[in-house]
């Protein structure tokens, strides 16, 4: 398996105390798998991505281990982590529109970046051009400044840069949110192609727009208030969602392309709990239609059928 995280906890330090943005995430990602990671904003999905590559203050590593291709990822150690960045783990950040230095020609920036990682830019030249072709960018973009590119072009350029060293794990963080619907689809399909061509081994595709995951993801993981609540292959989870939150998330999806942006999901009353001092037990209980007494105790994230994990007391009963 490509990636395995074990009870990963990463908090944000604030004045009032720790915000438990990622509170115990355990999952495995198979070689070649595209995992969709969905949830409302603030549920911890970006925190998960960031902590796997650049864990900087005010983020704080609390506990948990991460193994990538059988090797331990020292995510808590900024220095040691550096040798893994880009070569083994890479990211297409949320802010891809502003990710490139505005005053350097793109080609030059890439050259300097590669050189700084001890890679000869000449060796990568053909590969770089090949990938530009794949994402429908002309080679002239290398002699342009970022400001000369459109939003979609910048997005694709960053995709090429981030995946250039064939990382084992690539994380795409909300890459589609700034794009229009047709570009979203094109960009997502290019990432699938990158996987098919073995540029990347596995992909974590983070989005609040679950409908886009239907088309590209092999599996979907749903997060809620810093916890993983359900994880299953795409057909399984869309056809037979088990967790009440997932059910609401999927049933409240009117049609493909709908977006869940800020604050709360329509159709699910209430809002996610404060993560400074989250309630005991299941974090969804206050919004859950099926809430019972046992929900005051934390539900384990357990496998209820092969490849289908869920964290809900009620589900366990339903299945067994």
């Amino acid at each position: 398996m490509a990636l395995k995280t074990d009870d990963l906890r990463v908090y944000y330090q604030t004045l009032k105390g720790d915000v438990k943005a990622l509170d115990g995430a355990s999952f495995t990602l198979e070689d070649g798998e595209i995992m969709g990671l969905a949830g409302e904003s603030g549920c911890g999905k970006s925190t998960l991505a960031k902590s796997l590559i650049l864990l900087k203050p005010p983020m704080k590593y609390v506990e948990g281990r991460v193994r990538l291709d059988g090797e331990e990822l020292p995510i808590w150690d900024d220095e040691k982590m550096n040798s893994f960045r880009y070569k083994n783990v890479s990211i297409i950040p949320q802010y891809a529109m502003n990710a490139m230095n505005p005053t350097r020609k793109i080609g030059k920036m890439v050259k300097e970046l590669l050189k700084s990682r001890g890679i000869s830019p000449g060796e990568k030249r053909d590969e770089l051009e090949h990938r530009l072709d794949l994402v429908d960018l002309t080679r002239d973009v290398l002699s342009m400044y970022p400001i000369e590119l459109s939003g979609g072009m910048k997005q694709r350029m960053v995709m090429v840069i981030s995946s250039l060293l064939d990382p084992s794990l690539l994380m795409a963080d909300e890459i589609t949110s700034a794009l229009d619907v047709s570009t979203q689809k094109a960009v997502s399909e290019m990432l699938v192609e990158f996987r098919d061509k073995d540029f990347i081994k596995s992909l974590i595709f983070i989005t609040h727009d679950i409908s886009i995951l239907y088309q590209i993801a092999d599996s979907i993981t749903v997060m809620y208030a810093g916890k993983l609540v359900e994880r299953a292959p795409t057909e399984e989870i869309t056809g037979r969602p088990l967790h009440p939150y997932t059910k609401l998330l999927i049933s409240s999806l009117p049609k493909i392309g709908a977006k869940y942006t800020e604050e709360k999901l329509e159709g699910i009353p209430g809002k996610p709990p404060e993560l400074l001092e989250p309630p005991e037990g299941c974090r969804f209980k206050n919004r859950c239609p099926k809430k019972e007494e046992e929900c005051d105790e934390e539900p384990p994230f357990r496998e209820v059928s092969p490849g289908h994990k869920v964290a809900c007391w009620k589900v366990k009963k339903d299945v067994s």
């Binding site: 330090q13 009032k16 915000v19 549920c43 203050p57 404060e274 400074l276």
Partner: protein, 287 residues
């Protein structure tokens, strides 16, 4: 996801009180302010009276020594400090107010109004302030501290206008302004009820900078010989000491206090400005 941003006031004070730059700056400014207010009551001498022997170094009787004319340096110093605060408040305040108005209107209306006001701002900012003040002051036969402050204020606003304009632009693009506009509020009302409160912190920082700038401009003008024709200022003290060869005669107590006070006061203002910036803008805080 970003950590939740709490906008409560006590968070502001939490950071404000822990920001060394802000605290030190405030203490220094406050110290000089108290000095300027109560200082004149601590001395029994008049500004220009011959208070004692000439060229006396600092002593128990003459705390800051005496000048070539036997005037008490301490007395001149505390009155000069008062003048500095007047120039800062009036000149800096005027510059901030005029700049705020120009900047608001330019940023808020955009289009032609912005083009014209921006052109005016850029034009005035390019002409060295001191050069204009020189020409004006040279033709004024009677000059007071207030006149000086007003002239300085009227030529310093472009800095504030630029800052306020860009802030207004960025605030304008936020939703709540559209909301207010849809409810049919007039532009003046939107500016005062929606934009201004959001910019208070920013305006205060602008004022702090303008205060410092006005004090320094006045000191330079005074030193060149175009300062107030009556009264005293820290710049005039330096001019007098220079004119009467205090450098060559080594009467350091005549020129060290006024310049040191200016540097400390204005430096504290700049320090406060950076401190405030760090308090308001979490990204800049020390790691």
């Amino acid at each position: 996801m970003e950590p939740p941003q709490s906008k409560e006031k006590n968070e502001f004070f939490y950071f404000a009180l822990r920001n060394n730059k802000l605290v030190i700056g405030l203490i220094v400014v406050f110290f000089f302010l108290v000095f300027a207010i109560i200082g004149p009551f601590l001395t029994e001498h008049d500004l220009n009276e011959r208070a004692g022997p000439r060229n006396q170094p600092p002593s128990a009787e003459y705390w800051f020594g005496t000048t070539t004319f036997g005037q008490d340096v301490f007395t001149q110093f505390v009155y000069g400090l008062r003048a500095a605060f007047i120039v800062g408040l009036v000149g800096g305040g005027l510059a901030t107010i005029v700049g705020m108005m120009v900047g608001f209107f330019a940023g808020y209306h955009g289009g032609m109004v912005d083009e014209l006001l921006n052109m005016l701002t850029n034009t005035v900012i390019t002409i060295p302030k001191l050069a204009v003040l020189l020409v004006i002051a040279a033709y004024l036969t009677v000059r007071g501290v207030i006149h000086e402050s007003i002239v300085i204020g009227l030529w310093s606003w472009p800095w504030a206008a630029r800052a306020v304009r860009s802030q207004t632009f960025s605030l304008k693009s936020r939703n709540f302004i559209d909301m207010a506009r849809m409810t049919g509020m007039s532009s003046m009302k939107i500016i005062w009820t929606e934009i201004a409160p959001n910019m208070m912190s920013y305006l205060f920082m602008t004022f702090v900078l303008q205060f410092g700038g006005a004090v320094l401009a006045a000191a330079t003008l005074d030193f060149i010989g175009l300062g107030p024709t009556e009264g005293i200022s820290l710049g005039l003290m330096m001019q007098h000491s220079f004119n009467w060869s205090a450098i060559q005669l080594g009467i350091w107590w005549w020129f060290v206090p006024p310049g040191a006070a200016l540097a400390l006061l204005v430096g504290a203002m700049y320090l406060m400005n950076v401190g405030l910036d760090e308090v308001f803008n979490p990204k800049l805080r020390e790691r």
